[in-house]
């Protein structure tokens, strides 16, 4: 209907507009105009009627005026010359005794957005700033911003800028807020509107008069102000306390944003503000509007990064409703995973179990992987559910469960016996390539403990011609190779067939090359092959002994109350950075997909033995359990020369003022650069602050030596005098030392000292770079 006969419509409308009979009857005239606007809003191009509409503009009927202005503003850009005709009417209206007419004319004059009209607009705008009626002043103030936008190069008169600043004291709160907005636009080059102390306090005092939109805007502008003293800061904060728990989510969010930016240097104050705001945020999570719920959930996720377990008692508020949309359910699950603790884990898992059979496969998958996440701390309970889900024999569920089990094994190798048992039972073939890949990885790595593993592989190998996914092909190759190493009798024939097929018939070069590589590798003998294929079975970078550390607020404060938290992809398996770190070294990657990497690690071992005597390496990996066992072995004598079973303990102090304040991730990353692997962290603010790490060092001839270490910072404990003399420069900074305890096996004083110096350097660079941060 609208797009048919556009020209016909225009013609007919013109006829109606020109009809003198219509002109004489105000109601009919208005209706004719109305029809034009309707056509316009339906997408008909009615710009040809411009001159008729300009004529119709001279009317006393306000409704008609408004309609015509809508038309004019839409088409002024197409007809700049004709628009000049309107200006006179508009200027006349600016003198009208009715303030509504004045504001309407002024607003539309500036909405025409024609640079040719600027000279006609300025004078009414100046008059508008001094108008008696607040609604005219509101329009006039914003008019200047529009004018500036129209001609960004031309300077706005300094007198006008001053006038705008003085209008900040206007009795009408909307005028005040509009002034801030206009000045911000006009002074963009100079860094926006200046928020100094008097303005800040003026704005704060008038905050109550504004409606919620004005309050949000003012609070946002106040973020720019830096209080001169701590007293002033606390004065401001106490003034804002009521807004912090405002029932209106926008005001609450803006206030929290302001608190976070004001308290950048006082993280404790920021944290307590967040605690205080949790009530309103939770209320927003139960809001009737699902979009508002979603927004609040995303921000709660942010909050939990710094205050893990904050809302633990309120976990039931995050249970999913039956009819909620999938995007909310998935966010809620992510929040639930963060809230798990000893008290609620049973209820929480029970609830999650219900989500696993959700109609929406994405939601079901998210629920299953959430259970896997909880499994990192409560593995028995979670695995019980996961194994039960395998019994449903539903393709998408099985696939998700298998992937989740793989991810769980990567982090918690202690779950392997349960998983192996479950895999033994699982006889499904999955449609989903991701799931098959995960199954193959587990069959390869834990093949010696799954008695039916070769038969499961056989199904894949028999069906090899129908396989389409390159990822699955590579994984199948690697898995078969690994299984061959531990169960050669059962695998030999199958592996031969597989290699033959891939080398002779495969068209994917990557797969073919991998097959060739393995083929040649087998010629080198068992040991060589083992060395290459023995990849990591678990992720040593994750803290198993202690949970993930709390981040500092500054990591995310800038994105609070912006669109950024909402933008994170809904389907990303993990939201937390440290966990995505773990995914980066996904088992599939290291073991199968990247043959280059594989070669890298093995050549690295060979070359390093001949080259530098100080080369560190983290392979073969050390499991956290083994670390714990070694570390807890009794120290025979506590002095430096405990030569008991060829093992050496030393204790040192390193001066590094700020290292324990920085985030665990960055320290971990910098240690990894020098091939030192960190195993576990305490949270940054905890005292004593501890880090456990290990590395292996190449000795000249005798193979390698394993070094385990513990870094401790503990404020209460006085530091040994003798050690402080080692770093006299930093002596005045009391208690800023980190105590290092190292255990080396087999002992080698040379390398241990060298390692200590490397560690010192890393910690120093790290703490100094951390200090330079604001």
């Amino acid at each position: 209907m609208p797009y048919l006969s556009g020209e016909e419509t225009v013609k007919e409308l013109r006829r109606a507009l020109c009809n003198p009979n219509v002109h004489s009857d105000p109601l009919r005239h208005r209706n004719a105009v109305l029809r034009v606007i309707r056509a316009m809003s339906q997408g008909v191009d009615v710009s040809a009627l411009f001159s008729e509409m300009v004529k119709a503009c001279a009317t006393v009927d306000i409704v008609q005026k408004k309609l015509i202005y809508i038309f004019l503003c839409s088409y002024a850009a197409v007809n700049p010359e004709l628009s000049l005709l309107v200006i006179n009417t508009l200027r006349k209206d600016c003198q009208d005794p009715n303030p509504m007419v004045r504001s309407l004319a002024l607003r539309n004059m500036t909405n025409l957005r024609l640079s040719s009209l600027v000279e006609y607009v300025e004078q009414p705008l100046i008059a508008g700033l001094r108008d008696r009626a607040a609604c005219v002043r509101r329009v006039a103030v914003l008019g200047w911003a529009k004018l500036h936008d129209l001609q960004p190069d031309s300077e706005i008169d300094a007198a006008v800028v001053n006038e705008l600043y003085s209008l900040l004291r206007d009795p009408d709160p909307v005028v005040m807020v509009n002034c801030l907005r206009a000045l911000e636009g006009i002074l963009k080059e100079e860094g926006g509107v200046v928020i100094n102390k008097p303005i800040t306090h003026h704005l704060l005092n008038r905050l109550k008069e504004c409606d919620i939109w004005g309050q949000c805007e003012v609070l946002k502008f106040l973020q720019r102000y830096q209080p001169q003293s701590e007293d002033e800061l606390f004065d401001i904060l106490s003034l804002l306390d009521a807004s912090l728990v405002s029932p209106h989510p926008p005001v609450m969010a803006a206030t929290v944003g302001l608190f976070l930016s004001l308290c950048g240097s006082l993280p404790a104050v920021g944290l307590s503000a967040l605690r205080r705001a949790q009530g309103p945020l939770l209320a927003a999570c139960g809001s009737g509007s699902r979009e508002m719920r979603f927004t609040a959930l995303c921000h709660i996720q942010l909050l939990l990064r710094s205050l893990p377990g904050l809302l633990g008692a309120h976990y039931k508020r995050f249970f999913c409703g039956y009819a909620e949309p999938a995007f909310i359910k998935q966010r809620k699950m992510k929040v639930l995973v963060e809230l798990v603790n000893d008290d609620n884990v049973a209820m929480l898992l029970d609830e999650m179990k219900g989500y696993c059979t959700d109609v929406n496969p994405d939601t079901a998958q998210a629920a299953i992987s959430a259970i896997g996440h909880i499994g990192r701390s409560y593995s028995d309970r979670s695995l019980e559910i996961l194994v039960g889900l395998l019994g449903l024999k539903q393709d998408h569920i099985t696939s998700a469960v298998v992937q989740t089990m793989r991810d769980l094994l990567w982090v918690c190798p202690q779950c392997s016996s349960t998983v192996c048992l479950a895999l033994e039972e699982c006889e499904d073939t999955m449609q989903d390539a991701q799931g098959r890949q995960a199954l193959l990885w587990m069959l390869g790595v834990y093949g010696e403990r799954i008695s039916s593993a070769p038969y499961k592989l056989e199904v894949f190998i028999d069906d090899v011609r129908n396989e389409t996914s390159a990822g699955v092909k590579l994984e199948l190759l690697t898995a078969s190779m690994r299984l061959f190493l531990c169960r050669p009798a059962e695998m030999q024939d199958m592996l031969g067939r597989l290699l033959h097929h891939y080398i002779e018939e495969e068209t994917d070069m990557c797969v073919r090359d991998q097959a060739l590589l393995y083929y040649r590798l087998l010629h080198c003998g068992k040991e060589e092959t083992e060395k290459v294929l023995q990849g990591r079975r678990s992720d040593p970078s994750l803290g198993v002994l202690i949970g993930p550390p709390a981040e500092s607020i500054s990591q995310w404060a800038h994105s609070f109350n912006t669109l950024a938290p909402l933008l994170q992809s809904t389907f990303k398996p993990d939201s937390k950075p440290q966990l995505s770190d773990a995914l980066r070294c996904d088992p599939v990657e290291t073991s199968g997909n990247c043959p280059d990497k594989q070669m890298d690690s093995s050549t690295h071992i060979q070359t390093s033995s001949s080259a530098a005597p100080l080369s560190l390496s983290v392979s073969p990996a050390l499991s956290p359990e083994k670390f714990e066992r070694l570390w807890l072995q009794p120290r025979a004598q506590h002095d430096e020369h405990a030569a008991e079973d060829d093992c050496l303990w030393i204790e040192e102090s390193i001066q590094c003022p700020a290292v324990f304040q920085c985030s665990a991730q960055s320290l971990q990353a910098s240690l990894q650069l020098v091939n030192v692997q960190t195993l576990a962290f305490t949270p940054a603010h905890a005292r004593p602050w501890k880090v456990y790490l290990y590395t292996r060092m190449q000795l000249d001839s005798r193979g390698s030596t394993l070094i385990l270490g513990e870094l401790v910072h503990c404020e209460e404990e006085p530091v040994n005098e003798k050690e402080r003399t080692r770093a006299p420069a930093a002596a005045p900074q009391e208690e800023k030392t980190v105590r290092v305890t190292l255990r080396q096996q087999p002992r080698d004083d040379e390398t241990l000292k060298a390692f200590l110096s490397i560690l010192t350097t890393v910690l120093h660079t790290h703490s100094s770079s951390n200090e330079t941060l604001p």
Binding site: I37, S41, Q42, V63, K66, L67, I70, M100, R107, C135, R138, V139, L142, K146, V174, N178, R181, D211, I212, W213, C216, E217, P249, P250, A253, A254, G257, A283, G288, S289, E291, M292, F294, T295, C298, H314, K316, R317, F319, G321, Y322, A323, P325, A326, M347, E351, G354, T357, V359, G388, G391, L392, K393, Q394, N561, T562, L563, A564, L566, T570
Partner: protein
């Protein structure tokens, strides 16, 4: 710029910025399923933020650093305003009233900055009359029953009574006031019948169509208490955990007499919101006794017995979630009930139009499912109920009285309505 362009579009009808609208429309429909996320990226560093209200998309374009809370709250507020002015939110009504909406937008937003959303201020500026698509008729009894009783006994306000444009009163239309107490329950009952979660979110909404009413006083139960520690009165206390009020509400008589005072603006106003978590003052309204088993022929037998202590208006039960159901045979306890299989949501929906309080209903479903194994029984579940309970609040909150000043002429009507919805009422089996 804050909300950069003048927003609004629904299903590509009002295309002021037709290219933008088309881009948005394509993005929204390209998303899988019917649940689009709130924010989407466009090509030019602009973001669309949209909410869905009344089956329409309300869209704003904005930059990345603006507050999502503000935009979403604004869009919700705007849709409420449009609803106030047009009566009902639907596509035809919007297209009928485009001139009014243009006018409204013009006053609410200037240059992308929110100016005001208060209907008191706006009423001075808005001149266009709403076009009502349907004539409102009090005696149209086909709609009776969604909402319940009132302060003037035995009169029933049809549910559509409050869905009319606010400006009608200007023309000497009926002067009426509606005070609605609306509660949403979200309940999870475990398979052993234990209440696992029970939250009630409630609000008091005032819809006022009285041009010359300067003050309303709303009296709540005297025993109304907030928080755990504070208990009032000797009777059964009506307790909520959290409570917040609209800023226009004056609370000087609240502490002692539980009276809310406010000067109503025309249109809808949420006066008070409250929340009761983890507790219900009375037993949950529905109890379900399910039996699920496999018969010899490999069919799944689901026997449901539902007991209800309160009479709901309408009740939908969707008990089973299954992957593949070939056929369904059913035996229901009453002929006016229906049950159907919804393959897309893998559920059997049992629709009960009438359900007297204190009675019991039962249903027997036999489902043919290929490859039914004992493990499949795990997959059955949870039963979800959606219902509406009129004349009832789950918290027990009541409006004791509603006084208007100055005293209104006798033909003015005052309605107090209570309703409890199921936000999510889930029973595990």
């Amino acid at each position: 710029g804050f909300i950069v362009k003048r927003e609004l579009s629904q299903k590509a009808k009002l295309s002021i910025y037709s290219d933008l609208v088309n881009v948005f429309y394509e993005m929204v429909t390209a998303l899988p399923g019917d649940q689009p996320p709130v924010v989407m990226v466009t090509h030019k560093d602009r973001y669309f933020v949209h909410v869905r209200q009344g089956g329409l998309f309300w869209v704003a374009t904005t930059t990345a650093d603006s507050s999502p809370f503000t935009i979403i709250e604004f869009l919700n507020r705007l849709s409420a305003l449009v609803k106030d002015y047009c009566g009902v939110l639907n596509e035809t009504n919007i297209t009928e009233n485009f001139a009014l909406i243009y006018e409204l937008l013009d006053e609410v937003l200037d240059y992308g900055y929110i100016q005001t959303t208060s209907s008191d201020i706006l009423k001075n500026f808005i001149q266009t009359e709403a076009v009502s698509s349907k004539q409102f008729n009090l005696f149209d009894l086909s709609n009776v029953g969604l909402f319940g009783a009132d302060t003037q006994q035995s009169k029933v306000a049809p549910s559509t009574a409050a869905t009319r444009p606010i400006q009608g009163s200007r023309e000497g239309g009926k002067s009426e006031i509606f005070v609605d107490v609306i509660e949403r329950m979200s309940v999870v009952i475990g398979s052993n019948g234990v209440l696992m979660k029970a939250d009630v979110e409630g609000e008091i909404r005032v819809k006022c169509y009285m041009p010359n009413c300067s003050e309303i006083r709303i009296g709540l139960n005297e025993e109304f208490s907030i928080g755990k520690s504070q208990l009032r009165g000797y009777g059964a206390a009506v307790r909520v955990d959290e409570c917040s009020f609209h800023q226009a509400v004056r609370l000087d008589e609240f502490d002692n007499h539980r009276i809310l005072r406010l000067s109503p603006s025309q249109g809808e106003l949420t006066v008070m919101q409250y929340l009761l978590s983890d507790e219900l003052p009375s037993a949950p309204p529905f109890r379900l006794f399910p039996t699920i088993e496999r018969d010899k022929g490999g069919r799944l037998i689901v026997y449901l017995k539902l007991r209800c202590d309160l009479p709901p208006n309408s009740l939908f039960i969707s008990p089973c979630v299954f992957n593949i159901v070939v056929s369904l045979s059913q035996e229901l306890s009453s002929p006016d009930q229906r049950a159907e299989l919804r393959p897309e949501s893998r559920a059997v929906v049992w629709n009960i139009p009438r359900f007297a309080g204190g009675t019991q209903l039962s249903a027997l479903f036999k489902l043919d499912i290929p490859d039914l194994s004992s493990a499949s029984l795990l997959e059955v579940g949870p039963v979800s109920l959606s219902f509406e309970l009129p004349k009832l609040t789950a918290t027990g909150l009541q409006i004791r009285f509603l006084r208007l000043s100055p005293i209104q002429p006798s033909q003015s009507q005052r309605w107090v309505r209570y309703v409890t919805h199921s936000d999510s009422y889930t029973i595990r089996v």
